[in-house]
């Protein structure tokens, strides 16, 4: 910044009370209508989850993880469970694998539906906020029927899952999927062909694959650059059932700017993600095998773990979510658990993406990366 611009610059805070900032805050340096510097601050949501995990047994640990991101609770709790199962060296029953995978994909859909609504609200398209949220209710009803809770589901447990599918759950899940399949083309039409939406998102927050790698972005943000980077395919998990399904990693490759993605591409990417998830669930539903949902021997093995280290990971809605777990011999609680949320990277990439954009576009840049505050303040 040259000295004469600095004279004109005004420093201002975006958040934490701003309605679009759901508790986070970024310091912006503004010259006229343009932002020249953005300094995102983390820490407003800090709950010392990693320390809390050190005092919780391996069965209680997932409860902390799922509270990191309530929107994708089925996905959020999984990396910890995966790490515990890796250290104990257990494999869960087939039925549990399939049920886990189905619910994780349902959770992904639910989270993305929430994001469509939220992002549209930030752009001022309120019809598109409320319509997907009506469909989202049906997924929440399914979660409630299955686990007894709408958000804090605590579904998976080391060694299997805690709740079994029954007729009612299957019926509700089917209804939720049917409703979404019916409405998805309408939502796509409403957003992607809306002139307002196109004007506000085309060419905004453009970055290339190399940039994304350098900043540590993952998930839909990097797939929108045309690179099929997905943990579900690249690093398959033993205790999930993605190998039973025939599916492709969805990628958007926009001919206008190959290898790069803007806010519009990321929206298209998230529509594709939902379609893929529906496809995966639809293929898995007839394949649910009979049998137990939890292996009591495996579960007993996870009461006390041997010394070891493991890296549990899952392809979350917002990107790669991992937990690194270290245990000591015969430990009932972890020695150290390190959570890697996908959103810390996307939040701090605002530092590079925002300068140069107008103040009105700031929230579009932020929203297009789909960060969730719970993931960057552990």
């Amino acid at each position: 910044m040259s000295p004469d611009i600095r004279d004109e610059a005004v420093e201002m805070w975006f958040g934490p009370q701003h309605v679009s900032a759901h508790g986070w805050a970024a310091k912006l340096t503004v010259v006229g209508d343009f932002i020249v510097e953005c300094d995102p601050h983390a820490g407003y949501f800090h709950r010392s989850a990693e320390k809390v995990l050190e005092f919780r047994t391996f069965k209680q640990g997932p409860l902390v993880l799922e509270r990191m991101c309530m929107l994708e609770a089925f996905l959020a709790e999984y990396p910890y469970i995966s790490a515990v199962e890796q250290i104990a060296g257990v494999e869960v029953p087939e039925r549990a694998k399939v049920l886990r995978t189905i619910m994780m994909e349902a959770s992904r859909i639910h989270s993305l539906q929430f994001w469509w609504g939220q992002f549209s609200a930030e752009l001022g398209l309120f019809a598109m906020t409320l319509w997907p949220w009506v469909d989202r209710e049906f997924f929440l009803d399914t979660f409630e029927e299955l686990t007894g809770s709408r958000h804090a589901v605590s579904f998976s447990t080391p060694g299997g899952v805690r709740y079994d599918f029954n007729e009612k759950v299957l019926k509700k899940l089917d209804r939720a999927l049917q409703r979404l399949e019916q409405h998805l083309p309408k939502f796509k039409d409403m957003l992607l062909r809306s002139p307002t939406f196109r004007m506000r998102t085309k060419g905004i927050a453009l970055f290339s694959y190399e940039d994304a790698l350098r900043w540590g972005l993952s998930g839909p943000n990097i797939k929108a650059c045309g690179v099929p980077m997905d943990l579900r395919k690249d690093w398959p998990d033993l205790n999930l059932a993605y190998d039973l399904v025939d599916w492709e990693v969805p990628v958007v490759d926009n001919p206008d700017h190959p290898g790069q993605s803007d806010a519009y591409d990321r929206m298209v990417q998230r529509f594709l993600e939902v379609e893929t998830s529906i496809n995966i669930i639809r293929q898995l539903l007839p394949q649910i095998p009979e049998g137990p949902i939890v292996d009591p021997k495996a579960r007993a093995k996870t009461n006390r773990l041997p010394a070891g280290e493991a890296y549990g990971r899952v392809e979350g809605t917002r990107g790669v979510t991992t937990v690194w777990l270290k245990t000591t011999e015969k430990a009932q609680t972890p020695y150290r658990a390190k959570i890697r949320g996908p959103c810390f990277a996307s939040y701090y990439s605002l530092k590079h993406l925002v300068p140069g954009s107008t103040f009105a576009d700031f929230i579009v840049v932020f929203g297009s990366l789909d960060p969730y505050p719970g993931w960057w303040d552990r």
Partner: protein, 143 residues
Amino acid sequence: MGMIRVLGDIFRVLKHIVRQTFSRPFTYFYPFEDREYPERTRGRHIHIRENCTACGQCVRACPVVAIRIDKSDRKYEKDAALYFDYTRCIFCGLCVEACRFNALFHTPVVDLSEPSREALHYDPERIETLEREPLEWRGRRFR
């Protein structure tokens, strides 16, 4: 042609109005009526003291130390009194899962609002009974 299209539009609008007027409202007249909760709803607990063996597994399973056990308080042969602190409970269901003697269950009662924090500390007597009657409103019966 224009005339027909306008008539079609009017018909569509009327159809919507009629449908919205006669369809059931999405909202409930809370607290006089409530929606139906699924069977597995993790609401407040109920403790069945006849079955309890004072094993203390529920206390050990709880991640937030919401349960206190008093083994000297006996009503039956070998039961114990449980004190629940609903300012702490996160309704995770681990205590219910840990109880192997069918002595602890969740109920679909989820609205626990009280005028003070102290009222959320449930004593053994309160946790053994369900004080709420099923509610009735306009002939519809819920919960």
